[in-house]
Every structure is written in C-alpha cells, then in structure tokens.
C-alpha cells in the first residue's frame, strides 16, 4: 500500500504548472440519436494536444491560453471544426453527424488510423462496432459478437459449437468479459453456437489482447469490454430483425424531456416451434432468450445516472430425459459525477450471476450450481495537464459460489441429497495509471494495479497426508487422490487463504513520422477465479472455483511490440504485433480426472505453467466502397505440468505440450463491398491449423472389446479448418418521409460445404468389430435470410 501512495505523490508533484492554462470539457454525442460516442477525438489543430472521449463520451483537455481551432472527429462521422478563444475554463458539448444514415452503413473503427492514436500508447486492442458486426456473414444469419472478434488476429475458439473464445493462446476462462462493466461468466447460447450479446443493444466492443489498462484486473489473457447503447435521447424508435434462429426487437427513446433515455431489447429463438412440427423432436425443446435494458438520466450537467441490466436464459430439454437451463443475469447502477473541468468520476454497483440447472429424469436427479458476485467500483479520471492524464480507482468484488447441489426428484429416487461446500471470496483492487506525453513523439502509459484476494471461511477444508491432495503412484505410473488426514472448519469470519499481487502495466509509443509509430508494452496481471474444465471444449456445466489453499492465483506476464502504419491517405492501415506471454500456476487435470460433483477438486489437478508467443498482422482497408481486413496470426501456445508436490514426472513426462487452443496458423479475411445504395456484399475466409487432440496409438482386447491406447496429451491434430462465407445486403428504395427502413441480408455459410471436423471420435464398429474413426462436422453449407428494420 505504501508504494501506491508514494507513487501517487510522485505523479502529482512531477507536474509543474509553468504557464496559464485552461481546460475545455464536454461530451460528444451522435446528433441523430444522442448516443454518447466513446473514442471520439477532440484535437487542437496544429498542436499535438488532444483528447479521446471516455466510456461515457466525456473529454477534457488543457492548453495554454490562446486561440485555437478545435477538430472533433469520429470514424464514420463528419468532422466538425470550431474556433475557440481559450481564456477561461469552458464546457463545450458536440454532436456529430454520421456520414450516411443508411442502415447498412459500414464502419470499421480503426482507432489507430486516426492521427492521435498513432501516439496513444495503448496497443493490442481491437474494436468493432455493432454496424460492422451486422455486416459480417454469420451462421444462419445470427449476428454474433463473439464469432466476429474471431476474425481479428490472435483470437480463435475451439471450433463450431464450442463456447467462448481464446486470446493469444489463452484459455476461455482467462478472458474478462464485461457487459456494461458486469462480469459475464458464460458468453454462449446453445452450448456455444451463438453468443449472448444482442447486436441491437450494443454500442461497441473493445478487446484488449494485451497491454490491459490498470483499471481492469482479474483475468490473465484479455478483456472484452462490451458497452450497451444508452438509448436514443432524441426520438423514439424501434429496431429489430427476423432471422431463421431468432428474432430481435429493441425499443429506445427519450425520457424526462430528453434529460434521459432508455433502451429495452429482447431476442428470442424459435427453433423449438419448428421442432414441435417434427414427430421425432416434438418432445424436445431448445431455445434461448435475452433481455437487455438500459436507462440513464441527466440530473444536472455534473451528474448523470445509469441503470443497465441483462438477463439471458437457455433451455434445453431432450424428450424429458435431460432438462438443462442456464444463463447470466447482471445489473449495474452507475453514477457519473464531474467534480470539475479536470476530474471525472464514476461509481458503479454491479451484480452478476450465472447459474445452471440440469434435471436427469432417468436417474431422478436435479443438479443446480451458480456463481454470483457483487462489485463496488469507483473510477476517477483526472486530466492533470495537456501532457498527463491520470486514472485511478478502487474496486471490491464479493463472490459466492455454489459449485453444486444434488436433489432427488422423487421419493423413490436412488439419489441422496448432496450439497457441495459453498465457497466465498473477496477480491479487491486499487490502481493508478497515467498517460503521459513525454515528448512530441514519445508517449507513455504507466500504471500499477494492486490486487488482493481472500478466500473466506464458512466451509471445511480437507487436509491431506503429507499435504498431498494428489499422489503419484510410482509403481503404477498414475496420479491418484491423496489420503485425507483431517478436516479444518473455517468460520465465516475467518480467512482460509490470502493472496496479493502487484501488477505493473507499461506502454510506450514512439511516433516515427506522421503515418507510422512503434509501440511496446509490458503487462502483469493476476487471476483469482478459475473455470474447471477437463474437456476440450468448455461446457455450460463447468464450474468456477476460487483460489485457495490448493489452487494458486494464475499470474501472467506479457511483453508485446508493435509497428503501425497508415498509408494511402489513411485508406489503409497496417498493424504488426508480436507478443510473448507466460502464465504461472496454470492448472491441468490428471489423466482420468473426475470433476463432477467433486468437493475436493484439488485431488484432480496438478499445478503447471503456460506460455504463448506469436506474430499478428492486420492489414485493413478503411475507406472506399471496398473495405475489409486481412488478419494473420502465427503462434504457439503450450503448457507444462510438473508433478510438483505430488511427485512423479507430471503430465506428458513434464515436457511442454500444446494447449487445446494452440493454432500455428490462423488466417481470416473479411471483405465488404458496397455496390450501390441498394446492394452491398461481404465475405469471410477462415483458415486455421487443426486443434490439438489426443489420438489412439494402439488397441488391445479387454472384456471382448477393442480398447484404445493413447499417445501423449494433445500430441496430434485435427485436420485444418477452413471455410468461406458470403452475404448480400439489399436495402429497398424508400420514400424520404418514410421512417421505416428495412434491409434483407442473404447469406451462405461454408460456401464450399467443407466438412470441418469439430471432433474425431474413435470407435469399434459394432457390425464389423473393426476400429474406425468418425468425423463429426457441424455446419455444412447453410443458407440464411434475415430481415432487419428500423422505425
């Protein structure tokens, strides 16, 4: 703690106000709907002095007394200029107009392509906005945020129908996914076929693959920051879409005489309606729905409150045999307060919950589990001078995890009631970070996050003989559960285990000339809660677990270096980044681990480490009728798991082995072509090295079966994955006074009907008795049509 205060004092005292300076502050909004624009820039012409709006559209900049021309710009919007005489602090609000008001406007927000952003030390960040995402071809026309970020370099997932995404060779649980600041624990619907984000409710998304700002903490790979729209504060309107899988409807409009606005958006699937018509499927039900809500109110020019919420649910019911429901629920109450021209603050009270329930009728069992957290967070931004901006704040997250409760569903059920130990934990964070323009060309972003974690009592912990939850059996060559020595009960006021970490973050950018820059970053971060999953794809039934006596926090260190260039009058941009990342305390599961209903997960895991490194190239065309990007990633992601305290060689003999998310090559090409006002076309191409898997390396006869023997973990690979998708958007003519705007999106997914292996299973054919390999491929060629509208 002491270090932090010292740091604070140094930062403040470092700035000496040499001459008379004044501040301009304000908010930048969209002129048509009043949505605040985040990432818009305000610039003093002829200087390098500028500011970028924050998440709430707020900016503040400071300059010496004088007359200036302000340039206010945002990608996809008309640039505004304004002459000002800066002789006093002032508040200036701006409203920008979109280039075209057409519904199918294509905007790729290339943050780095704007002048100021070549200087901004922030690197390894990708941004997509809802209108770009809506243009990209999607399976069954179902617009998907999580799938679209996989078109960016360094982002993959485990194939069709697997939940979540992997960033720079990291695991799914290493991504901090935030929807209006609330943690989303599971990003998928339909077991991973679709994502939980309704594109109609989303303003934009930002993915930090590295160089994570100090204000974020708690995950070691990435941050996906998804922001919901505030709602149109000028007019009431409806947007929606009708697709093959789901339909969407969003209503938004002003409230309280334009002092506030609201957005309410819903989405629901209706595949189950079709299934009713099919004899074999009439008892099955697979459906999902989402509800997004946001409202805000301007109390006065210095105070604004926001309330946002999300509720989503999946229902999966198979012939009344298996009934599975799961979903996220979040709520966030925020208060923006502007202290003065230079100090902006936001206080958030956030709630998140993820729960699932599975009812297995054939064994009369009902299983429920959940994780929930409350998070209180206070973030401040201090525009100290034209050279230095400070961000600092604190947060506290209180977790409650219920890893599982089993209930018999009838009196005759053979199942006994069982409740696994509830787990409680607290995670605190403090951070300070500065963006500092050191010279005209050199800008630094440096910060420090201090995180502390306490696993709280209220449960018993098992102690093992020789303190070994897992023991290597030397003779049999296998890892086995350790022997229980005793149990210790920790009262609710006791702490089972404490951890804390300092997480320095450093970014530098050096502008080589007007169109190119180089950047470097160093990021340390810690992760205290982990998703337990011993399968190659995460499932909705995987359980989160906090660090404690036996599971240590994951800690990552990432170095990244990048080169950025805009050319042809900013029509093209090139970003090349390389990274090297290590993660300490990455657990892996012993052979044959059994996580289901397990109260003592420590008996199934070994502690190890992971590393990933790679090269990412992103070439974009940002302007013109043809836009798009080419992303290429060359990378390696490995882990190593020693026996450690358990003894023995560890997994795969203690050697490095591929993680399931290692992809040597990953190429994505996205192109969007606007033919005329009526038609635009887009296409994706994806190529990826196959996923690491474990293949059989022999067979033997046992109990009349041909039993497979296996090679080392993840030593083999599925065949390469590739496909092309296309889509066409048709916007019919409409009368200028007609408020109804509609568009048709026709798509074909997997145009050449490639049978990409989602998995290969090895079985004994029960007619011939011979072994065979079966490929399961999920999506063949799939045509789709979607109708989107706005009123």
């Amino acid at each position: 703690m002491k270090h932090l205060f010292v740091g604070f004092c140094l930062l403040f005292s470092a700035v000496v106000l040499a001459q008379e300076k004044y501040s301009i502050r304000g908010t930048i909004k969209d002129i048509t709907n009043g949505e605040t624009l985040l990432g818009a820039s305000v610039f003093l012409k002829g200087t390098s002095n500028g500011a970028i709006t924050n998440e709430y559209g707020f900016f503040s900049l400071t300059a010496p007394k004088g007359t200036y021309t302000l340039i206010i710009s945002y990608m996809g919007y008309e640039t505004l200029t304004k002459d000002i005489n800066l002789d006093a602090d002032q508040t200036l609000n701006f409203e920008l107009k979109e280039f075209a008001t057409s519904l199918n406007e294509v905007i790729i927000v290339a943050e780095e392509s704007e002048q100021v952003n070549l200087k901004k030390p922030q690197m390894s960040v990708s941004k997509l906005n809802a209108s770009t995402i809506k243009q990209m071809p999607a399976v069954l026309g179902e617009i998907d945020v999580v799938k679209s970020i996989q078109m960016l370099p360094g982002v993959t997932n485990n194939g069709e129908g697997s939940a979540g995404f992997n960033v720079r060779g990291g695991a799914v649980d290493q991504n901090l996914v935030l929807l209006d600041e609330a943690i989303i624990y599971n990003t998928s619907h339909f077991f991973g076929f679709f994502s939980v984000f309704n594109a109609d409710a989303i303003k934009d998304i930002k993915l930090y693959k590295g160089d994570i700002p100090a204000k974020f903490g708690g995950r070691v790979s990435s941050v996906l920051d998804v922001r919901q729209k505030d709602g149109n504060s000028k007019n009431f309107n409806l947007t929606g879409g009708i697709g093959l899988i789901s339909s969407r409807l969003a209503a938004e409009g002003p409230l309280f005489k334009e002092k506030g606005s609201f957005l309410i958006a819903g989405r629901t699937s209706y595949a189950h309606l079709f299934m009713k018509g099919i004899e074999d499927l009439k008892d099955d039900k697979i459906s999902f729905y989402d509800l997004n809500l946001k409202t805000n109110y301007d109390i006065n020019k210095n105070n604004r409150v926001y309330l946002s919420g999300y509720f989503g649910r999946d229902v999966f019911n198979l012939s009344k045999i298996i009934e599975n429901t799961y979903g996220n629920a979040t709520a966030n109450l925020r208060w923006n307060h502007i202290f003065n021209d230079k100090l902006f603050s936001n206080l958030s009270l956030i709630y998140s919950k993820y729960d699932y329930q599975i009812v297995l009728d054939f064994i009369e069992l009902d299983w429920i589990a959940d994780i929930k957290n409350y998070n209180l967070k206070y973030d401040l931004k201090y525009y100290l001078s034209d050279k230095v901006k400070l961000e600092f704040g604190a947060s506290g997250i209180s977790y409650k995890l219920n890893p599982g409760e089993v209930r018999p569903t009838s009196e005759t059920s053979p199942v006994n009631y069982l409740k696994l130990d509830q787990k409680r934990a607290f995670e605190g964070g403090l951070y300070v970070s500065a963006e500092h323009q050191i010279t005209d060309k050199l800008t630094a972003q440096y910060g420090l996050r201090y995180s502390a974690f306490s696993r709280l009592g209220g449960q018993s912990m098992t102690n093992y003989i020789n303190n070994q939850p897992v023991v290597y059996n030397d003779q049999l060559g296998i890892y086995e559960r350790g022997e229980v020595a005793s149990e210790t009960y920790f009262g609710k006021s006791e702490r089972i285990k404490n951890y804390d970490n300092f997480e320095p973050r450093l970014g530098l950018s050096y502008q080589l000339n007007d169109v190119s820059s180089i950047k470097a970053s160093y990021t340390k971060s810690s992760q205290y809660i982990h998703l337990l999953s011993n399968t190659s794809s995460v499932t909705p039934l995987d359980v989160w677990t906090p660090s404690g006596q036996y599971i240590k926090p994951q800690r990552s260190t990432q170095y990244a270096f990048g080169y950025y260039k805009n050319f042809n009058d900013n029509a093209y941009s090139l970003e090349v980044e390389t990274y090297y990342k290590t993660v300490d305390n990455r657990i892996d599961y012993i052979d044959g681990s059994d996580l289901i209903g397990n109260n003592t997960i420590e008996t199934e895991i070994l502690n190890g480490e992971a590393r990933a490194y790679g090269l990412e190239v992103l070439l974009r065309k940002n302007k013109g009728d043809f836009t798009g990007w080419l992303a290429y990633t060359l990378s390696k992601s490995e882990q190593r798991t020693y026996g450690g305290q358990a003894g023995g060689p560890g997994i795969n003999g203690g050697h490095w082995y591929n993680t399931p998310y290692d992809r040597t090559h990953d190429i994505s090409l996205t192109g969007i072509y606007k033919l005329n006002d009526k038609w635009s076309f887009s296409s994706n191409f994806v190529f990826q090295t196959g996923r690491p898997v474990t293949y059989p390396n022999g067979q033997y006869n046992y109990e009349g079966l041909s039993v497979a023997t296996f090679s080392n973990r993840n030593e083999d690979r599925l065949p390469a994955y590739h496909r092309i998708d296309i889509s066409a958007t048709y916007t019919p003519n409409r009368k200028p006074d007609n408020r109804w705007k509609g568009e048709w999106v026709f798509g074909i997914y997997n145009l050449y009907n490639r049978k990409n292996a989602a998995s290969i299973t090895f079985n004994q054919n029960n007619q011939t008795g011979l072994n065979e390999a079966s490929r399961i491929s999920i999506f063949g060629l799939i045509p789709s049509v979607t109708y989107n509208f706005k009123f």
Binding site: P414, Y700, E703, T709, R713, D716, S759, S777, I778
Partner: protein
C-alpha cells in the same frame, strides 16, 4: 444430441494415427460367481496392436501364470492352454482376502494385487417402456441394495444373445450410498450402427460385479473412452494404466487388469 438439431453430420474417415509400443495385455479376472465354488478361473494374455490393425489380436503362449492368496499363502498355478488362455481348476475364492498375480513372460515378471470384493444380490429385474432414454422403447431394469457403511463400486455387463460385444456400465455409490440402486439397459433404434431396440423374446445376460475402488477408477475411464473417446465434451483421452507392474523393467508395463470380484450372473428374456 445437439447434432439432431444442428444438421451436423458424422462420417467415417481415414485418419493417420501414431503407433505406440507393443505391450503385453493381461486380462486376469478372478470372478467368483455367487453360489458356485469359483474353482475354475482363467487368465488371458495377448499383446497390443496398432489401432487400425484388422488381423486377429496375437495371443501370448509360453508364459507362466500363478496367483497366491497372501492371507493363506495358497498358490494357484494357471496352466498354459497354448491359445492365450491359462486355466486353474483349484482356485479358492475368499471375500476380503488379498491375491497376488505373477506372470512371467519373456524373462520379465509382472505382478499385481487385488482384494476380492463382494457384491449384493439383484433384488429384481423388470422391463418397461416408459423409463430409460426413450419412452417408446423397451428397456430392462435391475435393482440391488447398496450397503450403507462402506463405499461400493459396481460393474454391470449386459450382453444380448447374438451381439458382437457386451455393453458395460460402471456405478459408484458416491451419490447413492445406502439406497436401492437402479440401472437400466436400453438399445437405440439406430440403423447406421445396425442396432435394433429390444423386442419381446430377446434375451440379455446380466452380470453384476462388486469391484474395488482402484478397478473402478480403471474401468470407469476405459468405459468413458470406449464409448465417447474424442468427443469434445468428454475428458481428454489418455493412456489408461492398469495395476500390473513389470518388476523387471517398469517402462515395459502391461495393459489390462488383475481383478478379483464376486459376481451375480443371471439373464432376462423380454416378454
């Protein structure tokens, strides 16, 4: 299951798989059928082959096989039948006694120990349509009591007359302790795999074994990998190590298992 809804497709393809080391396979199952003397016992020895090898599994002859009851020091020698099986007719099974297997093959000695585990009787066998996975197909149900004061593990083997292979289920009383345990066996209607649902007149052999915890850990994994190996929602496939240790050269371990169980054998014909 999702496959049904998502138009996924499954096809048989050629895959190059690695070839591991050839190893001795020991299938030493001392199964004492309730109500019998249990004196006839058999050990099978063979070797592993490449995964897609279609030739018959090579049997091992010329090994020496014996089992010692470590509680009584009685020794039972298994006689080589020259077809990969080794037989004894003098075995004496005792619940709770510990047995040690010794196999000498190619001048290497393999040993394993197991304690003979008892099993409950089957209380009842029924047939039904409503239960099971599909409420339109016939299944058979077995019921047996789980003793409350200990952890129990079971292996159930179902075999329909005329089938190529048996079907196995592993059961632990972890969530079921002290209750009457119900297990069912239902066959899918699956033309692709040539599987037909049960019809009246079909006969199913049922074996219920009481097994040790260590054998449960082995067979659970074997069953999981056999039925869903490579499936993205099953745990990562791995080498399954049995309990036979090569005392001479521990790298050259054997596959298979030495088990000592009590078993209830019965059969049921659908009405």
């Amino acid at each position: 299951m999702l496959a049904v809804v998502f138009m996924s497709c499954e096809d048989v393809i050629d895959v190059d798989v690695p070839t591991g080391q050839t190893r001795l396979v020991i299938e030493a199952s001392l199964d004492w059928e309730k109500g019998t003397s249990g004196s006839n016992q058999q050990v099978k020895l063979s070797t592993s082959t490449p995964y897609f090898e279609t030739e018959a599994i090579p049997v091992v002859v010329g090994a020496s096989v014996k089992v010692v009851n470590t509680n009584t020091n009685e020794e039972f020698v298994f006689v080589d039948q020259n077809d990969g099986t080794y037989l004894t007719t003098t075995f004496v099974p005792v619940i709770g006694n510990t047995y040690q297997l010794e196999v000498i093959y190619n001048d290497e000695t393999y040993t394993a120990t197991q304690t003979m585990t008892s099993v409950s009787d089957i209380n009842n066998i029924t047939q039904s349509i409503e239960g099971g996975f599909d409420d339109e197909l016939l299944e058979l149900n077995i019921y047996f009591d789980d003793p409350e004061d200990e952890a129990n593990y079971y292996l159930v083997r179902y075999y329909e007359d005329g089938d190529l292979f048996p079907y196995f289920e592993d059961i632990s009383d972890e969530f079921l302790n002290g209750n009457e345990i119900h297990d069912f066996f239902e066959k899918d209607d699956d033309e692709d795999s040539g599987q037909a649902p049960f019809q009246p007149g079909d006969t199913v052999e049922i074996n219920l074994y009481g097994i040790s915890e260590s054998y449960y850990n082995y067979i659970r994994l074997l069953i999981e990998q056999y039925y869903s190996g490579g499936d993205p929602f099953s745990s990562t496939s791995a080498e399954i190590r049995g309990n036979c240790i090569n005392e001479t050269n521990d790298d050259n371990y054997a596959y298979g298992y030495f088990r000592a169980t009590e078993v209830v054998k019965t059969s049921y014909t659908f009405q």
